[in-house]
Symmetry: C2
Subunit: 270 residues, 2 copies
Amino acid sequence: MNVVIVFTHPDPHSLNASMLNVCVDELKQLGHAVQVSDLYAMNFNPVVARSDFPLLQPDERLKVAQASKTGYASSNLTDDVQAEIAKLKWADAIIFHFPLWWYSMPAILKGWVDRVFACGFAYGVGEHSDAKWGDRFGGGSLAGKRGMVITTTGGWKEHYSPRGINGPMDDILFPINHNVLFYTGAAVLPQFVVHSADRLQMGDFPVIEDALRTRMRGLFTDPTIAYRQQNTGDYDIPSCELRTALGAPGASGFSLHLKDNSPDKAPRFD
Amino acid sequence: MNVVIVFTHPDPHSLNASMLNVCVDELKQLGHAVQVSDLYAMNFNPVVARSDFPLLQPDERLKVAQASKTGYASSNLTDDVQAEIAKLKWADAIIFHFPLWWYSMPAILKGWVDRVFACGFAYGVGEHSDAKWGDRFGGGSLAGKRGMVITTTGGWKEHYSPRGINGPMDDILFPINHNVLFYTGAAVLPQFVVHSADRLQMGDFPVIEDALRTRMRGLFTDPTIAYRQQNTGDYDIPSCELRTALGAPGASGFSLHLKDNSPDKAPRFD
């Protein structure tokens, strides 16, 4: 199988870099083909700008979704973006690997998403009407592929627990797991998280390495998060609100979008 | 009073740019001083890198928090970062104004946070011990100031409703409102959101303008979101988990971090 790892860390000797090496080694031992987009090493430009859209006329307003759609449909996006889209099409699994900065992706990775997840490829896919609102949330260009987040935090595991002050890690990562990866069609594996990364000692690494190798071995077989699909009857269309019969009475929030009785309803960490 | 607006949009003729003009005009009419950090116009560099830390030796590993702390403490961060920190210290209110891209900030704004929210200024502030875990979540360098998000979405309001497939807007913005603005001490106003931005007509703008002017008039008087403070007894220290007596039984997730019986427990949109 084919695996692309979108990797983000500014220090080539970081914990994250060591973890990346473990992932690549294990995946290759398993016979998979691996491509790494090492965004810092590539000096990837993360800023959406007019120059992303060569077809845009000098006096034309930049409406990003529209320019992206036109550029993608006619293969007139920039070479760096086209190369990343080609990797995603090639991949059977897509891993986002990054340190959690301010409870989200570092800017260079966020901008990779902003630029590479083009309109017509990652959003604006399929029929949009009163009867259907796109191929998304379980359908779309990444359908049939798997997605996964690998991340590290400076903060304590307890701070990300169900009652932790940061909010639960499942909820912190929902905008990525559910709203980026699952949105575009990927089946999403539970995240792999290393907490208190700045406080680790060298002797802690073998445990991390073992756990990572196990997760890489399960990349194509482990159960994925049981998110509800948009277009299989759970949601009213086009409002995309969960049907009133579903979910616990009075419930709201991210956990509504897990299937009822899903094991993923239980708090889950790294 | 002093207001800084950190503004993000690549098109100077965008809806967001028009909204910015309204905000600035109203704030000035009210007698406030306003500084705008227009990140695209400034060509702001959003990528944390070695060059951010002039004190770092060529053979020294880049540990971001440590380098940031050393640089901030000795006023050895780059000029662009120091200038933004100075604006934040000057401000009585800080507004993040951006289009919501992939359920979060555009990369150029995310990187502004990554770079400007330095260690010792925005995090790593105060005593860290078994008895106290920093001045944060209601305390910190931005204590006494107000924070607010102004944003626009391509998606429908219903898609961000309590049962909407994207998740509720309050939860989508929690990593920013609670974990960036409140974390650093600011009291956070409810967000101002314009949905379905690409489908608006020119005739829709006066309603947006009126609502924005009203919100600007209330910037220093409107009730803020009733988040629980970390260091006033609601949380166990240093685990920073909400004390078991607080919150609804069995509850977890972001809404736990609102005070019991807070009006903000109710679903709330734009």
